[in-house]
Symmetry: C2
């Protein structure tokens, strides 16, 4: 089987595995599925959970699209007259309890073809990252430890590299702070002398397979903690920063909005209830301030 | 007095007039004032009201900034080595009651200088527009009638022109709908054969003076209407579209975020409580659907 078919099969299975596990943890809500087609070629399977016992809103979406490379992307990649295929799984989970972090993950594969249909370029990209509203250092360390383990199985230089890329990418520059406490981010993983596309496939699927192990234990540990209105307000204010990142800075979101992507699948990443208060500042010495300190100064977790 | 000094004095007075009137209508909350300075020159007076009886969140801000034209603006205006002065009043008011529309207005003046300090360009810009959550045609007509009256006092070609520009500018292209029911939008109002800067000053201040007459009667008429949770949810979902416009499309907001503007003054425009539900669709034949119909097909109100 080609890498392309193998990876597409993989993300279909992974979507099933992840949505089943999240439903099992939630106990109340189920994912609703929407199949959609892209007029220019391909489509997707969007699965959204809302108003669960644990998960207030979340989406675990796959898509596989192909056709002529859109003009905006031709300019971006510096090519003309190319065709493409892209598939990937994207997920964002917004839990109800402010002590449970939001999580985002994405694993994707891209192929570009010349007019004769020959592959002229191909690469993997993706990653996973955590956005807590309250900082439990043990949770951050756990998440990063699992990320590192998945990386180390392939190359011990990967984790420090992709951890750094994650901190750089999810930087809310207009706030001078990180979106969350990071994880992994990688892109343009291409075949090179020492590494085949099959090697990258093995790496990216290893990260994909690590997702539930990285996230679920944190959910289980924090989902039943008591919280009050003030904790909830803080969560909603911080979710505002999540919206700001996704709408102002996130390349994937902006690309989708500008190329006529399926809006509801793209914007399922936005949190369900959000607040913007003017000039809100956490109280000195509070747990809220402790989080902001770490977001302003990303640190090494393992 | 120069146009620049006259207009700066004007927006200071207008800020007082508008905030006093809004406080009088609200009866409960007062504006809190923040003075801020721009390290590179100038500063502003931000006034924010929160948790009022009528106004859930709103800002009426003035600023007057000057210095070297930032690099991003040099490129935008196609000049090098220029200095600038810009002052303006910006307001966004988010009422609590879903039957009272959100309003936005802005009136601004810009001067550009060569290195010898001579004015090489100068213009006015601004406008005012209404974003209802429920459509009362009488309110839309009232708002546009006042806009038209202010325009007609100067030139009967202004209203149709600036009404159209407003519909074009506040277009949420990724949703294929308008942000609201429009009003006026104008920019680069420069001296020309038939019209001096003083003429434009007279026009822009006429629009500024019309603001309270355009908005307040609508607030008075709708602020005590009964509403339920479902009306409130709809308002919060529609506020999500407001956020999307401001963060994805609004040139002023993006310019501020990219040029190190005062974040809290820029983002005071974002609504206090906002929702994103996956693929929310108004019920067929409902009042909610009636609004969306008009947003998708902007119409003539006078």
């Amino acid at each position: 089987m080609t890498i392309k078919n193998k990876f597409y099969r993989y993300i279909q299975d992974l979507q099933d595995t992840i949505t089943s596990k999240l439903e099992e943890v939630d106990t109340l809500a189920n994912f609703k599925e929407d199949l959609w087609e892209r007029p220019e070629g391909g489509g997707g399977r969007t699965r959204v959970i809302q108003n669960g016992a644990v998960f207030e809103k979340g989406g675990v979406n796959i898509s596989a699209v192909h056709g002529e490379l859109p003009h905006s992307m031709q300019a971006y990649f510096g090519v003309t007259d190319a065709n493409f295929f892209a598939c990937g799984l994207s997920l964002v989970i917004h839990p109800k309890n402010p002590y449970v972090p939001t999580v985002h993950a994405n694993w994707r594969y891209f192929e570009m073809y010349d007019k004769q249909g020959a592959i002229v370029d191909q690469w993997f990209g993706g990653g996973q990252d955590l956005t807590p509203y309250y900082l439990f250092e043990a949770d951050a360390t756990h998440f990063h430890t699992i990320c590192k383990k998945a990386c180390d199985a392939h190359d011990t230089t990967f984790y420090p590299q992709y951890k750094q890329k994650c901190d750089d990418y999810f930087w809310n520059s207009h706030r001078n702070e990180a979106r969350g406490i990071g994880g992994l981010f990688f892109d343009y993983l291409k075949a090179s002398e020492g590494r085949s596309m099959q090697d990258w496939y093995d790496f990216v699927t290893e990260v994909g397979n690590s997702f539930l192990e990285a996230y679920i234990p944190i959910v289980i540990k924090r989902k039943d903690l008591d919280f009050n209105t003030s904790n909830r307000n803080w969560q909603e204010i911080r979710r505002g920063r999540y919206v700001e990142f996704n709408l102002v800075h996130d390349k994937g979101t902006l690309f989708g909005l500008r190329t006529n992507g399926r809006i509801e699948s793209i914007l399922m990443s936005l949190p369900p209830h959000v607040q913007w208060q003017y000039n809100h500042q956490p109280v000195k010495g509070s747990e809220e301030e402790k989080l902001v300190e770490v977001l302003k100064n990303p640190k090494a977790w393992v």
